[in-house]
């Protein structure tokens, strides 16, 4: 704002009016019901303030009023694009609390589901990112392949979006007969066709690179200080992945890389890097899937439900369980008072921390870059607001 002190004659003080633009909660590029308050000077955004909470559904309060297994359907509804990952984190936390060990067969099934979900979630993330930048076609190509993953999920547990699949001490349904083959069919199409086509059509496009490569740069220190996790942190060049650092479900047995942003077309940690990490992660997930499928073929079928009492009462105590969800570290802090309901369930959401750095990165951008930035942080409002 021009104050009397700054109103001196000359080019610098050329007075332009600032305008408050309200972006969202119903805006096509805010990925849900995020509301941004942008203070703009022409096309340049001077400051951006995100307002969250439009999708608040009291998850944590709900969790205190239902029994331990009853929380799982609620976890699915947080990050609805990657519901498998949510319930996995909660199940791991409660299993840690009760000291339940799942069989290797169940652990392998969980890895299959988690990695399929990661591909599906990244398909949406990368596809909608292309759409934010203005390219429509890759989005539909990727959704076509996500659809096939959803078919596999539906075949396994009957649901396409909110699965209630990872139960405490097991999974709700065994894999159907022929699942391994169907999954391989999907990968045989995904690896040689969709993946190279995506890179050819979207990632390698010069306009796409120009729009994302030097935009929204989040350097390593900033990413760590704001506690970014997942692809957002790896995009900043930090090789951090719970599947490697603190393996669960037997991830230590699989060979895969942790892709990080290298800043090929600009500074490390740009929107391009974050998105590129997601693209590469799809390939790594596919590698893991091949290994798990090999393993499943050799395995004996086993009971997928551990002996867990229906009205389970974990011992008194507290536990923090975490897993690498597609959007980053998803942590559950579960406190038990020995009753049948959790005393407290606190969620550490990767999208929430990603949103917290937004105002810092958005300063001084153009409006079109704001869209590119939101898309590259890959937020799901269901998880931020819970």
């Amino acid at each position: 704002m021009a104050t009397p002190e700054t109103l001196v004659t000359g080019w610098d003080s050329l007075d332009t009016d600032e305008m408050i633009v309200n972006m969202g909660p119903q805006h096509p590029a805010t990925h849900g019901v995020l509301r941004l308050e942008l203070r703009t000077d022409g096309e340049v955004v001077k400051a951006a303030r995100p307002h969250i909470g439009y999708l608040h559904r009291c998850f944590e309060k709900h969790a205190e009023n239902v029994d331990y297994p009853g929380v799982i359907p609620y976890t699915d509804r947080m990050d609805y694009v990657a519901a498998m990952g949510n319930s996995l984190g909660y199940a791991l936390a409660v299993e840690k609390l009760c000291g339940i060990e799942v069989s290797p067969y169940v652990a392998t099934i969980r890895v299959v589901m988690a990695e399929l979900q990661r591909i599906a979630s990244h398909c949406v993330a990368v596809g909608t990112y292309g759409m934010d930048i203005g390219a429509f076609t890759p989005f539909l190509h990727l959704l076509r392949d996500r659809e096939k993953i959803l078919d596999l999920f539906e075949w396994t547990c009957g649901a396409r979006l909110l699965y209630n699949y990872n139960w405490i001490g097991g999974v709700s349904h065994d894999l159907p007969d022929g699942f391994v083959r169907a999954c391989r069919d999907f990968l045989r199409e995904f690896d040689p066709i969709t993946f190279p086509e995506l890179i050819e059509l979207l990632i390698g496009n010069k306009i796409f690179i120009k729009r994302t490569a030097a935009v929204g740069v989040c350097p390593e220190e900033l990413a760590i200080s704001y506690d970014l996790t997942g692809p957002n942190l790896r995009g900043a060049g930090v090789r951090s992945d719970l599947r490697k650092d603190a393996p669960y479900c037997g991830y230590e047995a699989y060979a895969f890389e942790v892709p990080v942003g290298t800043g090929e077309y600009g500074p490390v940690g740009s929107c391009f890097d974050r998105n590129w990490v997601r693209v590469l992660e799809m390939r790594e997930s596919s590698k893991i899937l091949h290994q798990t499928l090999d393993r499943l073929e050799k395995m004996e079928r086993a009971d997928v439900h551990e002996k867990v009492p229906k009205r389970m009462k974990p011992p008194k105590g507290e536990v923090y369980g975490r897993s690498e969800a597609p959007r980053g570290q998803l942590g559950y802090y579960v406190v038990s008072d020995g009753g049948i309901n959790p005393y407290r369930v606190k969620v550490k959401s990767p999208c929430f921390t990603a949103m917290s750095v937004f105002h810092h990165l958005a300063r001084g951008m153009m409006i079109a870059d704001i869209i590119a930035l939101i898309g590259s942080l890959d937020i799901v409002l269901g998880e931020i607001d819970r």
Partner: protein
């Protein structure tokens, strides 16, 4: 008007006995009506084509429900839009709000007055045709700004400002390139420009001064894309940024009018480009100009224009969108210098014959450049072929077909 009247008299000799004012009125109204009907019904075809092409590119079917292959879908949609309530949000400037779609449409329709569909099939043969096209095609901008301002919506205002900046910038390289055919022909009349390209493919302006005119064509077409707000220059209505830009607040029939104007403008740009570079209504081979007694010229122009419209749609469903500053960068730092250089160089070439100063310029300068360009073109084509064959092979090995 003259041409139209003569054509009318030939078709209906009895008209010759009518009073002069009837003749004059008919000569004015009939072409206008034909033109208007043709142009106004065009968007129905283009919208259908756009949706089908998009569907094809995105591995889906596109409209399939209304009529066979969804052929009646656009008609159903336009009827729906006609019967929808036109909503006026609070705080709009009603007069400007209503006027804006009309102004946009006027700007889109007017250039058709001078588009030659055949030697005598042209509503009016203005001797300043090219100038007229430039003048009236910028009218649409006024309409867009009116719409953006009157909507009382910040997003609409952003869209309007963006579109104004964009169209003003891109008009300059476009006009520069327009000068080239004008320099070659020495006339501003579109009819003269087409006539100079008679005699088949090699005579089209696209293939004159070989390495240079195709560049001019690309520059003009790019600027044209920007002028009708198509991807990658669709920032005035960028749906992921500005919701729908200047027509965010419009609904019902007024919204349909913006739609109509956009598609009409696409067709205008394509038709003018065909006239300037692709030989207008002339067939690639002189033998194909008529089918027995039936002249096919108008069909050829239509085919060329539709080909360019298809290219526009193709680009739209392939490319991402540029940012505002990058858009300006392309206009001022890439297209404008190229256009200026082309005007200067081509001007020189037009003045000097190929063997000026006793030196065979064409043999020692023109041909080598041409050969190098052709070589690169072939290389690109071979690469594309290899890629597609490799993919077909991949698909075959895993037992999939597309």
């Amino acid at each position: 008007m003259d041409l139209a009247l003569r054509l009318l008299l030939e078709l209906a000799p009895a008209l010759g006995r009518a009073p002069a004012w009837v003749q004059a009125a008919l000569a004015a109204f009939v072409p206008a009506l034909v033109c208007f009907t043709f142009v106004a019904l065009g968007p129905i075809v283009y919208v259908y084509a756009e949706r089908k092409i998009a569907g094809f590119m995105q591995d889906r079917l596109g409209p399939m429900r209304v009529g066979p292959y969804g052929l009646l879908q656009t008609i159903a949609d336009s009827v729906k839009l006609l019967f929808k309530e036109a909503i006026f949000p609070r705080g709009v400037d009603r007069r400007l709000f209503l006027l804006a779609p009309l102004v946009v449409n006027v700007g889109a329709f007017l250039p058709f007055v001078v588009v030659p569909w055949g030697g005598r099939l042209q509503p009016v043969d203005l001797n300043v045709g090219v100038f007229y096209v430039i003048a009236v095609s910028s009218l649409a901008t006024v309409g867009l700004i009116m719409a953006g301002w009157a909507s009382n919506n910040k997003y609409s205002l952003f869209g309007a400002m963006r579109s104004a900046a964009q169209i003003v910038s891109y008009e300059i390289p476009a006009v520069m390139i327009l000068l080239v055919p004008v320099m070659i022909v020495g006339s501003l009349s579109l009819q003269d420009i087409v006539s100079a390209q008679a005699g088949g493919l090699p005579n089209w302006f696209l293939f004159r001064f070989f390495p240079l005119m195709p560049v001019a064509f690309v520059v003009f077409f790019t600027a044209g894309l920007a002028e009708c707000n198509r991807t990658p220059f669709d920032i005035p209505e960028a749906e992921s940024e500005l919701v729908a830009g200047f027509h965010t607040e419009y609904s019902g029939f007024f919204f349909a009018m913006f739609f109509m104007a956009e598609y009409t403008e696409m067709f205008v740009i394509s038709a003018v480009t065909s006239v300037l570079f692709l030989g207008g209504y002339f067939a690639p081979l002189p033998e194909l100009q008529t089918l027995g007694p039936v002249p096919l010229g108008w069909l050829w122009l239509l085919a060329k224009a539709w080909l360019l419209v298809f290219v526009m749609m193709w680009l739209r469903w392939t490319l991402p969108r540029l940012r505002v500053d990058q858009l300006m960068h392309v206009a001022w730092k890439v297209l404008l210098p190229v256009a200026l250089a082309l005007v200067v160089v081509l001007g020189g070439l037009i003045l000097w014959p190929a063997t000026a100063w006793g030196f065979p310029w064409d043999r020692f300068v023109g041909w080598p450049i041409t050969l190098v360009l052709v070589f690169f073109l072939l290389k690109v084509m071979v690469r594309a072929l290899r890629w597609s064959r490799r993919r077909a092979h991949e698909l075959a090995t895993i037992g999939l077909e597309r």
